[in-house]
Each structure stands twice: as C-alpha cells, then as structure tokens.
C-alpha cells in the first residue's frame, strides 16, 4: 500500500506491507536512533514525535502514520544539543542504549512544560526505562540544564 510521511522535514512516499511497524520503516530510512527494546510497549526506546507528540514507533503501524509528520533524533540534533551535555555530565550515558528515547521524550517534555518540577520530570519520563542508572543522573542532568537557563 502507498503511504506518505513527512520524516524529519522531508516528504517521503513509499509502498509498504500493511503490517509494517513504524519503527521498521524508520530504520529502513536510516533513522537508527530509533531502537527496538522490550517488544511490550514499555521501554520508550523507540520514541519518536508524531505531529509533535511522543509516541512508541514499535507499537504503531507505518500505515497509520501516513499523512503525518514524524521527527526522530536525527532531525532534532540542534534542539537536543541544548541539554544532552548536561546529561552526559551526570554519567547518564553509560551503555547509551536508552539515551535516544530519553532525549526524544525530554524534548517533548520541555516543549510541553518548559519549567517542570522534579516530580513532573519523573512523571513524564516514567515510560523510558534505563537498566544502567537509577534515573537520578537523568533527573540531575535535566535539573542542571533547567537551572542553567535561569542564570
């Protein structure tokens, strides 16, 4: 079937199978920041923005994304660069596998709520699992970024 998706600002058309998941279509287009983790819609590794909202690309048909705009980390490097250094400073990039999902959801959080409390950060990022850290590093990194903006 024919689909048309605006991916990272570029309109792409494709002919796909009806059961192709969005994550597989994105990786086929070279967006390797989008990763498969849990297969149970729990881990947040595959987070992308659809029309600006964070969604799990592992749990969505590419066909449903047709007619919509999808952004992956490949298309949001500049926005991510504002705060990822603060995460790295806290050692949150240990194995690094979860980082793109975390960064994508942090972008969504900060767009929706530019000055979140710690509870709001933890709540918004609850759907991103990290098996290396205890999440405190991510929280400290985002807090440090937010504090730096106020100086």
């Amino acid at each position: 079937m024919e689909i048309g998706i605006k991916l990272n600002g570029r309109m792409l058309s494709d002919n796909i199978d009806a059961d192709l998941l969005l994550i597989d279509w994105l990786r086929d287009k070279g967006c390797f920041s989008v990763k498969r983790g849990c297969e149970t819609s729990n881990c947040g590794l595959c987070t992308v923005l659809m029309d600006g909202k964070p969604v799990l690309s592992c749990s969505m048909l590419a066909a449903r994304a047709s007619g919509h705009e999808i952004m992956t980390l490949e298309g949001l490097q500049e926005e991510a660069s504002e705060f990822v250094g603060f995460l790295a400073d806290q050692g949150t990039d240990q194995c690094g596998f979860c980082n793109p999902g975390f960064v994508m959801n942090t972008i969504a959080l900060l767009r929706e709520n530019p000055d979140p409390t710690d509870d709001e950060i933890l709540s918004y990022l609850a759907g991103n699992l990290c098996r290396c850290s205890g999440y405190n590093g991510q929280l400290r990194g985002i807090r440090a970024f937010l504090d730096s903006r106020k100086k």
Partner: protein, 261 residues
C-alpha cells in the same frame, strides 16, 4: 507475531461495521494490546479518520470519542474537574506518556480488560457507551457483555452530581495494577468499583446502607469489609487472592475516608 494482510481507514462507521463482520478482520484502537498478540488479521480497520478523537462537553454530559487517547483524558481539565481528578489519577501510571498518546479509550473500554484502570474509573461514574448498532448501553451492562462485532463509537459520562476517588496498588510505577479501587458518591448512592481482581472491574453498591449515617472510621471500616467480602479475587503472578482481598479492604477504607460525607 501478528500479521495484517490489509489496512483500511474507514470512511464511515457503516463501512467499518461492514468490514468488521468478517471474522478475521479487526478494529484497530491504539494497537498496544493487539500488537502483543499472535495471529493473522485479514483487514485492520482504522477509525482514525472518523472524527472520534475529541471530547465534547455539554451541560448534561461529556461525549468522549472512541479514538480519544488516554493522554487526552489525562489533560482534559473539565473532565478532571468533574471527576475530582479521578480520571487523571487512573491513567497517570499507565506506562508512559508515549504509550498514553497511542492508547485509546475505545480500545480500553471495548477490551474490558481485567487490569484496566480505565474501565474501573469510568464504572465509578454515570457512564454509558454508544454502540454503532446496539445504541446506548450503560457501561455496567456493557462490562458484562460478551465480545461481538459491533463498534464502540463513544463513551458518554452524564454529569450526575458526584464525588469520585481513585486509587490503585502497583508493585512498581508503570506496571499493571495488582488491584484497582474507585469509590464514588453519585447523587446519594455510594459505589465502590474494584478491578484487576484480576477479573473485570465490578461495581459494589452500599446495599446495606452502611454509609447512610455518614462517614466515620467505623462506617468506613464496615463498608470496606463489606466490599472485600463481595469482590471476588483470584491469584496470579502479581498477587494472591488473599493479598488482593486485603488490598480491597484497605483501599476502600482509604477511599471512603477521603471522599468523606
């Protein structure tokens, strides 16, 4: 692994209904539960173009389209004001924001899953479902119906004067609940709803009038014991039947004290 032969965005409810009469065709909601199943679907029927993704409010009711996401429920100020924040409390720990941006209220309610926070909280309100062919049915009746090939179009919450409290017990945040417990006072009726028993949520009314004399620690304890005796629980990997019954008693007592007179 799930395979899908064809994908159709229905252009009308009638088209979706006709397609859904074939046994191996399926309506796609948020697709989160469906995706974890194995099998072969002939045609996946998507309702996403039918304008069912809005929450409309009148003086009498909320009309919630089947494709409204759990995140929309969470962020809907008027619905949460009416429900005393119970709707937000019910969905806030369902995995994460990304999941709730996909999961639909129609998928949750149609599925009538035992673990459903969504079914539990809507049963605590004066809620109805609109089925394409079956018309408007109370959610309580719908929750007991067998699956069929009708289409759930919207959820209707009538604005009966209400106080509502929602609590659930999870082993870990974002996990499935071990038990869900809502309590509402709809008009003069107290209604406890217990889900994740692990069976489907059930309504238990104060049929003995234990709270008629007002809420006190004694009446809360008596009502909680009554609810725990009525809510049938079973064991699974998340907890034993005995543990669940203990939680029902504790959470219901807490809910009664929170809701007050």
């Amino acid at each position: 692994m799930l395979t899908i032969k064809e994908y159709v965005r229905a252009s009308s409810l009638e088209e979706a209904y006709e397609l859904n009469q074939k046994r191996n065709n399926r309506i796609v909601g948020g697709m989160l539960w469906m995706k974890m199943q194995s099998g072969s679907i002939g045609t996946a029927i998507d309702l996403c173009d039918l304008g069912l993704d809005t929450i409309e409010e009148t003086d009498e009711e909320f009309s919630i389209g089947a494709m409204v996401t759990l995140r929309q429920l969470e962020l809907c100020e008027s619905l949460n004001e009416y429900s005393c924040g119970a709707v937000k409390a019910a969905v806030k720990d369902i995995i994460g924001v990304q999941f709730r941006n996909l999961a639909t209220v129609g998928g949750s309610i149609y599925g009538r899953f035992g673990f459903s926070d969504v079914l539990t909280v809507f049963l605590a309100m004066d809620t109805y479902v609109e089925l394409y062919k079956g018309g408007i049915v109370s959610l309580e009746d719908f929750s007991k119906m067998k699956y069929d090939s009708d289409i759930l179009v919207r959820i209707i919450v009538r604005k009966t004067r209400a106080k509502i409290i929602y609590n659930a017990m999870r082993i870990q945040r974002t996990d499935y609940p071990v038990i869900t417990a809502a309590l509402s006072k709809l008009g003069d009726e107290y209604r406890a709803v217990i889900g994740a028993r692990p069976g489907r949520a059930v309504i238990i009314r104060d049929e003995n009038g234990l709270l008629d004399g007002g809420v006190s620690s004694e009446s809360a304890d008596a009502f909680a014991r009554f609810v725990a005796s009525k809510a049938q629980t079973q064991s699974n990997m998340r907890g034993s039947a005995e543990y669940r019954t203990h939680l029902v008693k504790g959470l219901t007592e807490r809910n009664v004290m929170e809701i007050g007179g």
